[in-house]
């Protein structure tokens, strides 16, 4: 008979360890070297079961008086079982799944690194991936170092060095805790965890956040009267979030780019809306605190954009209208 059936040997977690093609019937499955499907399981007898080609897909499995017997997927010991497409049986400690050769498989994942080098299959493994791996690791290290340095220069107490190392280490821990659920999701959805990839994405976002924050500080130092700093900060933060979410989704799902960006856009939009709402509520709250740009940086005075005393007093002119309007607000 010309029927072709694929036997999938599964591991303890249900993942496929090996696939064997059956073309000749009846077929013997067991530990014997003569068996058609050879199992390396000490609890499996040399000739454990025989598979007979029945009607339709109806394969029939018969126990050949094995020591440990034949079990169906629900754990019942049987001497003979008729199998449908995708049925699972257990022999000793090994589980087998029987699939028709016509079974549809999921499309292949796009391998970015391989596509770049133009050698799709060769780049997947081995030394060619080394620069990519090294780059990803370098990104994680860079994020840790950047955050550590930032903490050192932001501090002004004794033992700034050890505090910086602690902050760097804490950041690394946070990065791992952040990347782990993404890796898990990737493993479930696309069968590859890509922990390093997720870590690198989170690291890049961390570096971007530090960059944005520093840019904002410098803008508010150089132009304390303008909203430029805040704008840079807001836009930078949004862009970073888009990159972060987009990156993680690209690694953890096989969805088309268009759909991915739609999701990223929606989530980012929701976060921005929430943030603006929170800021609005916060701004309406009463406080005795004064809110003004207080970041001062070392910078050559001659280049610092500045106004005259008169100019400053002139700029305070609209303050009166501003606080008077606050009275009307209530």
């Amino acid at each position: 008979m010309g029927r072709i059936v694929i036997v999938e040997i599964l591991d303890a977690h249900g993942a496929v360890r090996q696939r064997v093609r059956l073309e000749r019937w009846p077929a013997i499955i067991g530990r014997a070297y003569s068996a058609d499907v050879l199992l390396d399981d000490p609890y499996v007898s040399p000739e454990h079961v025989r598979v007979i080609d029945g009607d339709g897909f109806g394969l029939v499995v018969e126990d050949l008086a094995s020591v440990n017997g034949l079990y169906t997927a629900d754990g019942t010991r049987v001497s003979r079982a008729t199998l449908g497409a995708g049925a699972v049986v257990r022999l000793g400690r090994t589980r087998l799944r029987f699939c028709p050769a016509s079974q549809v498989v999921v499309p292949a994942l796009v391998d970015g690194a391989a596509a770049a080098s133009g050698e799709a299959s060769a780049v997947r493994r081995g030394w060619r991936r080394l620069p990519v791996t090294a780059g990803l690791i370098a990104l994680c290290v860079a994020a840790t170092v950047v955050v550590g340095l930032q903490s050192y220069f932001d501090g002004y107490r004794r033992n700034g060095g050890s505090a910086a190392i602690e902050t760097g280490a804490a950041l690394f821990l946070v990065l791992v805790l952040w990347a782990a659920p993404w890796a898990l999701a990737s493993r479930v959805v696309v069968q590859r965890a890509q922990l390093l990839g997720h870590l690198a994405i989170a690291s890049a976002a961390t570096i971007a956040i530090e960059l944005v924050a520093n840019t904002e500080v410098w803008c508010s130092y150089l132009f304390p009267g303008s909203r430029f700093g805040g704008l840079v900060g807001g836009v930078g933060l949004c862009a970073t979030f888009v990159g972060l979410l987009g990156g993680h989704l690209a690694l953890a799902s096989a969805m088309p780019a268009r759909r991915r960006w739609r999701i990223v856009g929606t989530v980012t939009g929701a976060f921005v809306a929430l943030g603006l709402l929170a800021a609005h509520i916060e701004a309406a709250k009463f406080t005795n605190k004064m809110d003004y740009p207080a970041s001062l940086r070392p910078f050559p005075m001659a280049w610092l954009p500045a106004t005259s005393v008169r100019g400053f007093i002139g700029a305070t002119g609209d303050l009166k209208a501003r606080v008077d309007s606050l009275v009307a607000e209530r």
């Binding site: 050192y152 220069f153 932001d154 501090g155 002004y156 107490r157 004794r158 700034g160 150089l222 304390p224 009267g225 009463f286 406080t287 005795n288 605190k289 004064m290 809110d291 003004y292 740009p293 207080a294 970041s295 001062l296 940086r297 070392p298 910078f299 005075m301 610092l304 954009p305 500045a306 106004t307 005259s308 005393v309 008169r310 100019g311 400053f312 007093i313 700029a315 305070t316 002119g317 609209d318 303050l319 009166k320 501003r322 606080v323 008077d324 606050l326 009275v327 209530r330």
Partner: protein, 462 residues
Amino acid sequence: MLVGVTDRRVPGRGFAGRQRIRRSRTLAIWAVMAAIQAAAVTASVRAQEGAAQQGGSATTSAVFRRYSDRVVKIHVIEIGSAAKAVLGSGFYVTPDGHVITNYHVISKLVHDPMRYRAELIDTQGATTAVTVLAIDAVHDLAVLSTGTRPEHYFTLQSLAVPQGTRLYSLGHPEDLGLSIVEGTYNGILEYTLYPKIHFTGAINPGMSGGPAITDDGVVAGVNVATEGDEISFLVPVERAVALLDRALAPSYVPPPRFLDEVGRQILAYQDVYLAHLFNDSTPTVTLGRYTLPTRPASYFKCWADASHPTRELLYRRVEHECSTDDYVFISADQSSGVVSFRHELVTSDVLSALRFASLYSALFGAGTVGLEGSEEEVTRFSCVSRNVRRARTPHRGGLSARAVLCVRRYRKLPGLYDAVIRIAALGDSRAGMISTLTLSGVSFENAQRVAERFLERMQWDG
């Protein structure tokens, strides 16, 4: 502190009290307790002295006998709960039953006339409703109409008495019954925004608005405030004479809303005391390479202190601060006339330029300056900040600084604002100077003017 029972403020003394323009409740409670304790000690000492000097005691009891029926107790009552919110004292000054007391005793009535009412209790225990006829918020005085016709009253007139004259202060301390306190007239205070009599005697909460009289029954002043340890203050009788004259003038019409009148009086008053603040003759002090204004008027007191690097802090700080000791009572949480400023020089030999900048930013951003206030009374602060530079000239050093002006408005008193001016000197990599000037209850235009003059008095050399 003022001696109305509900008033909780204690003006700061020396460095420990700095920056507390509206002082904390805890401090005030301690101060009240200290005042009570001091009064108790004084009373026991007096009792011993009294046994030795029978003559003095005889005069005091005679003064009390003769004049106590002219002194009344004033309650301000919260209408909803029918409970008294403020206790104070007052005294009859006309045959038509006009009573003089402190503005701060009846200020709740002025601020919220729908919620409070006031009544007077005379020595016989009879209660009469009173209304406000005129106020002088700056000098903390008020004239009340009572509708009663007292048998006896004090006739007010200007009075010049020599230092050391014995005065008797009358009033209701802590609602313990009408009391008389013997003390000494120690002259008009030199360093205050407006004249006040320094009275050495234990005035206590509840005696606010009561008279301080000579043994002939001539009013010298009105009880107003105490700092404990027998240091007390009286409003000179001349201010009461002026207010009473104004209130009794045939042309006088009480304002429809006294709160607006408070606002007008304070606006006029701050125009006067701010007019010359930080003008060209203001003295300067030099901290590091920074030349800064100091003690702009005689009624300012200044202190200085320095801290050295410790195990934890890698910088040195030198502070120079000045403030008025005085203020004008507006309400329990608001006052005007408080002007304080502080210069802080910060230097470090250990921190790198970037780390010093972080320290400097943190010190500059430390956002509170002791101006408290509730949402009912003031708005939030709104700020404008700029980098400011003035070139060096042969006559004057240059200036490069971050300047911030923050203001907030009094909700119930149109035209009055609190203002904070913060300056951070720029240009040094391991040194900095932060100046903070606080003005309370001023017009916006004056805030701008004073801010400009404050900045113009600063210069850095080198």
